[in-house]
Structures are given as C-alpha cells and as structure tokens.
C-alpha cells in the first residue's frame, strides 16, 4: 500500500543511504508542508524555508552535505 507514511519512508531511506548528514525529521517536516499546501506553492516554499533555517539555527555546526559521492550542482 502506498500512502503518505510510505512516501516518507521512501525519502527517509534515500536520506539514510545517500544524505545521512541531513536530519531525518527535517525531511518529514518538508513532506508534511507539501502535503498540507498542494495548491499554495508560495506558502509551501515560505514555510519550508523557515523550517530549514530553523533547523540550521538549532545545529549551526552541522554540515548537511551529501555523501562524498554525490556532487551537488545547481538544479536544472
């Protein structure tokens, strides 16, 4: 069965395997925001920005970069 929990589980698996330095709860929060605002992208983006910046403020020393094998480039 594919539901929201499974959606989160899938993203969490990718996070754990490829982006372990990114906080798991941040991913769940982003997905929740998107699920709550499917028709209001501007609001979704505003809330996500706040959420991510708050997470960074809580742990300023962390470096949420991907694993070395993942090259992060500007998003096409």
């Amino acid at each position: 069965m594919s539901d929201f929990a499974e959606l989160i589980a899938t993203v969490e698996q990718v996070r754990a395997e490829r982006y372990p330095s990114l906080p798991a709860d941040l991913i769940a929060q982003i997905l929740t925001v998107e699920a709550q605002h499917p028709e209001d992208r501007a609001e979704a983006m505003r809330v996500i920005r706040q959420t991510v910046l708050a997470a960074l403020a809580e742990s300023p020393g962390s470096a949420p970069a991907p694993m070395a094998t993942q090259a992060v480039v500007p998003h096409a």
Partner: protein, 662 residues
C-alpha cells in the same frame, strides 16, 4: 478515505423532481440496472457535478448545462438542477450541494453561460465558508485524479490507447502524468522544485556575501552573475516546459476532439470532393454547350442537305449521263473530222490508198451523218449540273448532324452527373448543418498550429537545458575557487546553500526511487488482478513500462501482444485496480459501461474481482451486460444493493430499488 452515503438529484438529466440514491453501508458492490438512455451516465455525472462542478459527455467533453436540464421540468417552467452528495472523509461528515440556476436576466437557457453554479458545503453540520469550500473539495477529490474513481468506457479507452501507444502520440505522457498524480508523486516533485528554488536563492545570498569579503569580491561577483544567469535560464526552461505541457495538453484535447469528429471529417472530405467534381462537371458542361452552340449555327445546312438529297442524286445521274453523252459526241465529232479530211484528200485514212470521187463522197456523207450532238450545249449543261452538284456537296459536307447529336448526348450525360452530384452536395450540406463545421476547421487549424508550437518549444527546451548545464558547470568551478579564497564569514551562507542543495538533490533522488517502487507495486498489483480476470492459462504476469503501459507476459517469459479489444480492456482494468490500490487517496469506484466489451468468462471474473478493486463499488449496467442472477451468484454477500432506473417517459426516469427475479 472517501465514502459516499447518499446522492439526491433534482431535475438532473432524466431525473425529474427530487430523487435519491442511498449508498449502502459496508464494503461491497452496488449494481444499478438501466437500459440505454435511461440515465446511468447521468447518475455518474450527478456525482461528478457535485464534487467537481462538471458534467461530461462522450469524449470527456464538457456537457453544456442547458442540456443537463430535465426536459419535462423545463416544460413545467423550471430551469435549474441540483445534486446533493452526502459523504464521509477523514472522519468528518459532509453534505455538499451544488446547483445550476439561470442567471439573472436570462429567460431561456440556451447555453452554458446562461447558468450560474453555486456551491454549499457543510462539514459536521457546520457551513464551510465559500472561499474554503472549493479548496476542501479539491482535497477530498482532486479533479486530476477523479477519473480514477468516477470512470466510464472513455477512461478505459484512454488506457487502452496507452497500451497501444508506442511513443508516437501524447497519450503516454499524458496518462503517465495523471497516474503519477494519483500515486502521490507531486508531493515529492513540489518539494524538489521548491528546494531547488530555495537553493538558488541561497546561492545568490552567498554570492552577495562573497562580494562583501575583500578576498572574494571578484569571484563573488562572477558567481552572482552566473547564478542570476542560471536562474534566468532555469526560469526560461520552466516557462518553456509549462508552455510545452499546455501545448501538449491542448494538442491531446484537440486530437481527441478531431478523432471523435471522424464522421465530420469524412463528411467534409466528401463535400470537398463533390464540390470539386461539380466544378469540373460545370466546366465540362460549359465547354460542351459552347461547342454545341457553335455546331448548331451550321445545323440548318445539315437539314437542307438532307432535304436536297434526291435532287443531288438526280443531278449526279444527269451529270454521269451528260458526261457519257458528251464523250460519245466528242468521239463522233472527231471521227467525222477524220472522215471529212480523208474525203477531201481522196486517200483512205487506214490503208493510205487513193480513193475515187464516189468513195470520197460516201465518206463525206458518213461524216455529215455522224451524231455529234450539241457538244457546246452539253458542255454548258454539264458545267451547270456540276456547279449544282458542288453546291450540294458543300451542304452535305456542312452536315454536322451526327456531331451535334454526339455533343448533345455528352452534354446530357454531364447534366445527369451534375444533377447527381448536386443532390449529393445538398445531402452533405444537410448532414453538415447538424455539425459545427466552422468549429471543426478552426480546431483543425489550431491543432496544426499547436503541433508546430510544440516543435519550436522542444527546440527551445533543448537549447535552454544545454545552457543551464553549461552554467551549472561554471558555477561549480567558481564555487570551488570561492571556497579556496573566502574567509570564515561566508560559512553560514555556504551552509544554507549547501543544505538547500542537498535537500533538493535528496528529493530528486527520492523521486526516482519512489517512481521505481510505484512501478514495481503497480506491476505487482496489476498482475495479481489480471490473473484473476484473464481466462488464458498461459498468461503469467503483466510487465510495466516507463509510461505505465502494461504488456502481458506468457509463462515462458515472452511478451504476448495485446490484440483483442476484450484483452485490452482486461489489462486496462487491471491497471485501474492497481492504481486504486496504490493511491494515497482511498475512495469509491463508480463505473459506467464497465462490462460491455468482455466475453462471459472475463465478465464473470471481473464481477468477482470488483470487491477487491475498492471498498465501495457501484457499477452502472444494463441487464444484458450483467444479468441480475449472475451478479447475485458471482458477488454473493458482497452484493450490497441493487437499484433499477425505470422509464416513466422518454424524458423522465426514476430510480427504484431493484428486486427483479428474486
């Protein structure tokens, strides 16, 4: 989970007055029996109208509201209709009422624009503010995925199209996008897009921060420029992509409309051909008429020639006689001249011996006695006769009677053909008058224009993607340089940018993983359902492709091409069932014309499988499509209720509990 409880309709389609349909409690199947034109599709449309504000006809085209009005109610002076739907969603009880009413000032409903639609939504007995009501309904039943819950033969046709599609048309991407919509992929896609935009904003912030660092000013400026250019190119790519999606969607719509207008297209083709034939025949008619007119100018000669034929014959006889007579007389005259000459010479003209006077006198007498006629008179008469004969010959030569007759025959034949074509032209005009020809031509032109636009957009997207890639590489290089020279002051901005970048990358990867898993699950669930439906023991599985198209797999592992219409429908239904099972939204399955094209075995399998396709299923069938006794035997305790749509008149149906045959 969406569960329907009760539907009440008023003056909707064939349902005159107020009529209600109660969905039974519990999981299982409700069967609604109704012969053609009684109102099965209207029942589906009433639910669609309540939830989405739409009523559709064949080809999923919007049906104008004035055509939804019950005709008897209209005759009684009512000019509106209503659907009220009671349902449960996320543990809340909703009552949804949507009405279509005549606009103020409109006295006679002639088109869609003469109506206004109003919505009233209650949640747990409390009114939902109007501004929230549509949003709430979009959450309950997103229009993009409603087709998976309220579907008819049209949707199955689209899926069957998907099975046949080999990438030549837009059907594959269109359906695939709709499927991914129902499977919840947009949540990930939105997250990825939003994070990419935030990453770009963070990159600009970082560039600006770098410009404040004296060691990194130049690189920061370069980075900002590159980032801005990258952003513009990406926005341009997004714009082109949106335009492309809009153009593809429009092309697909037009394609559908034009395909449905095959009859009109054929009529127009016939009409154009007949028009050309008529033009050609008219030109030939005019040409023949001109030739005939010309020929007719000398036709009197032919008449005279025929009238003087006996005279011509007599003249010919006379001429021949005169010529013979003249020849004789000329010969006689020559002989007489010879005799006279011999008599005067006293010498035989034959043996050259001298003759005496008596003999010479006899010769002279013979010469005088010769009948030499009146050669001069005969010659005059012959000349006159010949002149008269020449005149008659000229008249005979000018006798165009047969040519005129040929021309006349040709002209008559052309006129007959012209008459036949003109009659056909009128028939076609009558048939075409029932269709909107100008709309068709406009749509045809728009289709061609849209196809051209898609080609241009495709080129633009390719170029933009290459430019975005080039700028991305430059940005990566520039950032590396910045990292080497920048001070600690940039660490915070860099961390923000890297975090948003990493998050966007994470969601990009997650989309691929989730998509692959969805395909795997859809393939597995479609296979499970398919094996319940198929009657072919050698069928082993279904295999899914990138566009969610399914192929039947033989037990030896080879693909089995889907050829029969029934097999296509079974495969399409298997996909539908799998999508239902994997959708984040759970809801009822209301299906019209589901069983029409399958044979008895598949029909039985399909009916048995219905309860596994959704917890709440309602099928709208006619009795020959699903015999009531078969429904009861196949569904047993999963058959929750049976309704019948009964005819009151051609324009009035009523919905009643069905107990036929019990």
């Amino acid at each position: 989970m969406l569960r329907l409880r009760r539907l009440e309709v008023e003056d909707f389609g064939p349902y005159k007055g107020t009529q209600e349909f109660r969905f039974p409690d519990g999981d299982g199947v409700t069967v609604v029996y109704g012969e053609n034109r009684r109102g099965k599709t209207s029942l589906l449309n009433a639910i669609r109208f309540a939830l989405l504000g739409q009523v559709v006809t064949r080809g999923s085209r919007p049906l104008q509201f004035h055509k939804v009005l019950n005709a008897v109610a209209r005759a009684e002076g009512r000019a509106g209709f209503r659907a009220t739907l009671e349902f449960e969603f996320d543990r809340h009880a909703y009552t949804l009422t949507r009405r279509a009413e005549l606009r103020a000032g409109a006295t006679e409903p002639l088109g869609h624009e003469d109506f206004r639609s109003t919505l009233f939504l209650q949640r747990d007995g409390q009114p939902v503010p109007q501004v929230e009501a549509e949003r709430e309904l979009t959450r309950v039943m997103p229009p993009q995925i409603a087709r998976f819950f309220l579907f008819d033969g049209e949707l199955l046709s689209e899926y069957e199209e998907l099975l046949r599609d080999r990438g030549e048309s837009d059907v594959g991407p269109k359906i695939a996008a709709a499927i991914e919509q129902i499977l919840g992929l947009p949540i990930l896609q939105h997250a990825r897009a939003d994070l990419a935009a935030l990453a770009e904003g963070a990159a600009q912030e970082e560039s600006r921060a770098a410009q404040r660092d004296k060691n990194a000013q130049t690189i920061g400026s370069t980075l900002e420029n590159l980032t801005a250019m990258h952003g513009r190119q990406r926005e341009e790519g997004d714009r082109l992509q949106r335009d492309m999606e809009r153009a593809l969607a429009r092309k697909a719509e037009l394609d559908e409309v034009l395909r449905k207008s095959t009859l009109l297209s054929s009529l127009l083709g016939d009409r154009d051909r007949v028009d050309r034939e008529i033009a050609d025949l008219s030109a030939r008619r005019d040409e023949k008429q001109a030739k005939l007119q010309q020929a007719m100018q000398g036709a009197w000669r032919g008449v005279v020639a025929r009238r003087i034929a006996p005279r011509h014959q007599a003249l010919t006889t006379r001429r021949d006689a005169l010529q013979a007579q003249l020849s004789r007389h000329l010969a006689a005259a020559e002989r007489a001249r010879d005799l006279h000459a011999a008599a005067q010479a006293g010498q035989c003209p034959t043996c050259a011996q001298s003759m005496d006077r008596a003999a010479a006198t006899r010769l002279a007498e013979q010469a005088d006695a010769a009948n030499v006629g009146d050669v001069a008179a005969e010659q005059r008469e012959l000349l006159e006769v010949q002149q008269e004969l020449d005149a008659a010959a000229r008249l005979a030569a000018a006798d165009d009677g047969s040519r005129v007759a040929d021309l006349f025959d040709d002209l008559e034949q052309i006129k007959v053909e012209l008459h036949t074509r003109t009659a056909r032209q009128q028939e076609l005009a009558d048939e075409l008058s029932e269709h909107n020809e100008s709309d068709y031509r406009l749509q045809r032109r728009e289709y061609d224009r849209t196809a051209g636009e898609i080609r241009i957009l495709g080129d633009g997207l390719t170029k933009t993607a290459a430019e975005v890639q080039r700028l991305s590489e430059q940005i990566v290089d520039t950032r590396k340089r910045l990292d080497r020279v920048a001070g600690a002051g940039l660490a915070g901005e860099r961390q923000k940018r890297e975090t948003f970048d990493a998050l966007a990358s994470l969601f990009r990867d997650a989309i691929e993983v989730y998509r692959d898993r969805l395909r795997t699950r859809v393939e597995r669930d479609a296979t499970e359902l398919f094996l319940k439906l198929t009657s072919e023991p050698d069928d082993a599985a279904l295999r899914i492709n990138e566009q969610y198209g399914l192929t039947i797999v033989h037990k030896d592992g080879s693909d089995i091409p889907v050829r029969s219409s029934g097999a296509e429908q079974i495969v399409a239904l298997s996909l539908m069932g799998a999508l239902q099972k994997n959708a984040p939204l759970r809801g009822p399955l209301i299906a019209d014309s589901l069983l029409m094209r399958v044979d008895d075995t598949h029909r039985a399998n399909l009916v048995r499988a219905l309860p596994s396709m959704a917890s709440q299923v309602a099928v709208l069938v006619f009795e020959a499509e699903l015999r009531p006794q078969n429904a009861r035997d196949l569904l047993r305790e999963r058959l929750l209720a049976e309704y019948a749509i009964e005819r009151v008149s051609a324009k009035h149906s009523t919905l009643v509990p069905f107990d036929g045959g019990r």
